[in-house]
């Protein structure tokens, strides 16, 4: 990655791009831990019901929403170089 970032025609906002991607990847690793193990094992019981859903079910739905927010956040902050035609620099 580092060599690639040093190429001459790299986009100007490279630092911003990298930190937003770093935060995003951290959130997604947390998501993986939360929905596979140990997160889901901690929130594995049927009760209490949250908006009518068992805790174990509500937990998964919550992380789908968190994943969606994280991707939206990445999309909005990631300084990707997509112009209208989608061609790279």
């Amino acid at each position: 990655m580092s060599k690639f970032n040093q190429r001459k025609n790299a986009p100007a906002k490279l630092v911003g791009m990298r930190s937003s991607r770093l935060i995003f990847i951290t959130v997604m690793i947390l998501t993986a831990l939360a929905i596979i193990w140990p997160g889901h094992a901690i929130f594995s019981s049927a009760t209490p019901l949250i908006f009518g859903f068992p805790l174990s079910f509500a937990w998964i739905i919550l992380w789908v929403l968190i994943g969606f927010c994280a991707m939206t956040g990445l999309y909005l902050t990631d300084s990707h170089d997509d112009n209208i035609n989608g061609e790279t620099n």
């Binding site: 929905i35 596979i36 889901h40 859903f53 174990s56 991707m71």
Partner: protein, 488 residues
């Protein structure tokens, strides 16, 4: 009007709209391979969103999803869980594949890999593997369609006719319109099945129990609390282990973004922005699985002991006294789930077989290649249909084994974009080593040291071989490697 007639009219209308939405795009695409396979790289956000969503939600989601929730409870959450993390790599891979495709004319996944690792062998092997996996996958979609029509019509529509008519429609629009036909029909089918899923998922708990909360309370009162506790129940009704649940989620998530028919949609996007946005919006499609699971849960107390569990949804619908038009709409919804995956698989299988297989071995003109792809659509459709009318259980087993196999593509795709030092020998050793180990543990599960999904063992061997063999061999041509690394 008689119930049967109403159902037939509703289903007939649905099929007609599917055919029209599928066939109209054929007027707009060019008569080239690029037009047929990648839609001239013109797919907008609306269509691409539904293509990515609907390709994945197949007959399995509409029949198997409720079946899992009904018989295995919280184990079914795995279907929702893996998509959240599984889609993420496509945010990074998709734009790279798109740029390379635009610049060098790629339209399939294997083309990228074959060029990066300079290997015709890799391309042809991936083509063969894809077709071997896609035919049973397609067969299962046809079985789902035939089955639903047969059960709901109470035997009025024989299985072979239901599957036959449904897939004749698919065959026609895929033959003429290629990926754009798949795209526009999926947009219609995707919206349709989402609406049907939400309507049924809210309607059934309310009618049977007075709400979602009361439904889950009733399940707990009936002594089934254990099924609501993660990770749910195993196939035999005993509690499922975290090893098995976790590894199933992991392997499915790793394989998700590299399914060849899914990955190659990157090329169809109009631009990089469209590609990224449809990935970002993908989780909204995942939420559509929530009502699907609610349908299954709604039957736990009200309709105990239904076998096989996959038939739970048609069973509920037949036992409740619903208006014929509602049953007809559901029927169409289930067909939409089947067709929207079936068409994508059929199209990809034919494209991959010719583009990555036949045309690598002999020189074809663009026109001949396109025609061969179209003819392959017919041949592959027919083979899958023949399997469907003489189905046996081994096909289901073959497909389940495929998930671990497809996951083995992930490391080489990652290395292609991010690891300069990966070599041809390393990629081939990793990919095929991983597949062999996966198949070995699939066939002989008693050899597993831990009860985790066979794909995990495949991935471990895959990574070890990819890294060690790559480091032990001379680096690939730097100029070629750079083309892929600097595509980000």
């Amino acid at each position: 009007m008689e119930t049967g007639t109403v159902i037939l009219i509703v289903v007939g209308l649905y099929l007609l709209i599917s055919l029209l939405t599928g066939i109209i795009p054929s007027l707009r695409i060019t008569k080239s391979v690029g037009g047929y396979v990648a839609g001239d790289r013109s797919m907008n956000l609306f269509v691409l969103y539904f293509v990515l969503g609907a390709s994945i939600f197949s007959s399995f989601a509409f029949l198997g999803g409720p079946g899992w929730a009904y018989s295995r409870g919280a184990a079914a959450f795995y279907i929702i869980a893996y998509g959240v993390i599984g889609i993420v790599p496509l945010y990074f891979f998709g734009p790279r594949a798109w740029r390379l495709g635009k610049k060098y004319g790629y339209v399939t996944q294997a083309e990228l890999l074959a060029d990066r690792f300079d290997s015709t062998f890799l391309s042809v092997m991936l083509a063969i593997l894809s077709v071997v996996v896609f035919i049973p996958y397609l067969t299962l979609q046809m079985v789902g369609a035939g089955y639903v029509l047969n059960v709901i019509s109470e035997g009025l529509i024989p299985f072979w006719a239901g599957a036959g008519v449904t897939y004749l429609i698919v065959l026609i629009y895929v033959y003429f319109s290629g990926v754009m036909g798949v795209g526009w029909s999926n947009a219609f089918q995707g919206m349709f099945m989402m609406v049907m899923a939400w309507v049924l998922g809210i309607y059934l708990p309310n009618t049977l129990y007075g709400g979602i909360g009361p439904m889950f309370e009733a399940i707990m009162k009936s002594g089934n609390t254990a099924m609501l506790e993660a990770p749910g129940l195993a196939g035999d009704g005993s509690p499922w282990s975290w090893w098995e649940y976790g590894s199933a989620v992991l392997v499915s998530a790793v394989g998700f973004s590299v399914w060849p028919h899914f990955f190659m949609r990157s090329y169809a996007a109009k631009n990089v922005k469209t590609m990224r946005l449809s990935v970002v919006l993908y989780p909204t499609f995942l939420l559509f699985l929530v009502p699907i699971l609610l349908i299954g849960f709604s039957a736990v107390v009200s309709f105990p002991g239904v076998e096989p569990a996959d038939s739970i949804l048609p069973t509920i619908l037949m036992q409740l006294d619903l208006p014929a038009i509602v049953i007809g709409l559901f029927c169409a919804g289930a067909l939409a789930a089947s067709m929207s995956s079936g068409d994508a698989i059929l199209h990809s299988a034919a494209s991959i077989a010719i583009r990555d297989g036949v045309s690598r071995l002999t020189t074809l003109t663009d026109k001949t290649e396109r025609l061969l792809i179209q003819l392959s659509v017919l041949v592959i459709g027919l083979i899958a249909y023949l399997f469907a009318v003489v189905i046996d259980i081994s096909i289901v087993a073959l497909l389940l084994g495929a998930y671990g196999g497809v996951a083995q593509i992930f490391p080489v795709i990652f290395a292609m974009f991010y690891w300069r030092r990966a070599t041809k020998a390393g990629a081939l050793a990793g990919l095929f080593g991983g597949i062999v180990v996966n198949v070995l543990f699939l066939v002989m599960p008693e050899l597993k040291p831990l009860p985790v999904h066979e794909g995990v063992y495949g991935l471990i061997v895959n990574l070890i071989l990819l890294v060690s063999v790559s480091l032990a061999t001379t680096p690939d041509d730097l100029k070629r490697v750079e083309k892929f690394i600097s595509s980000g």
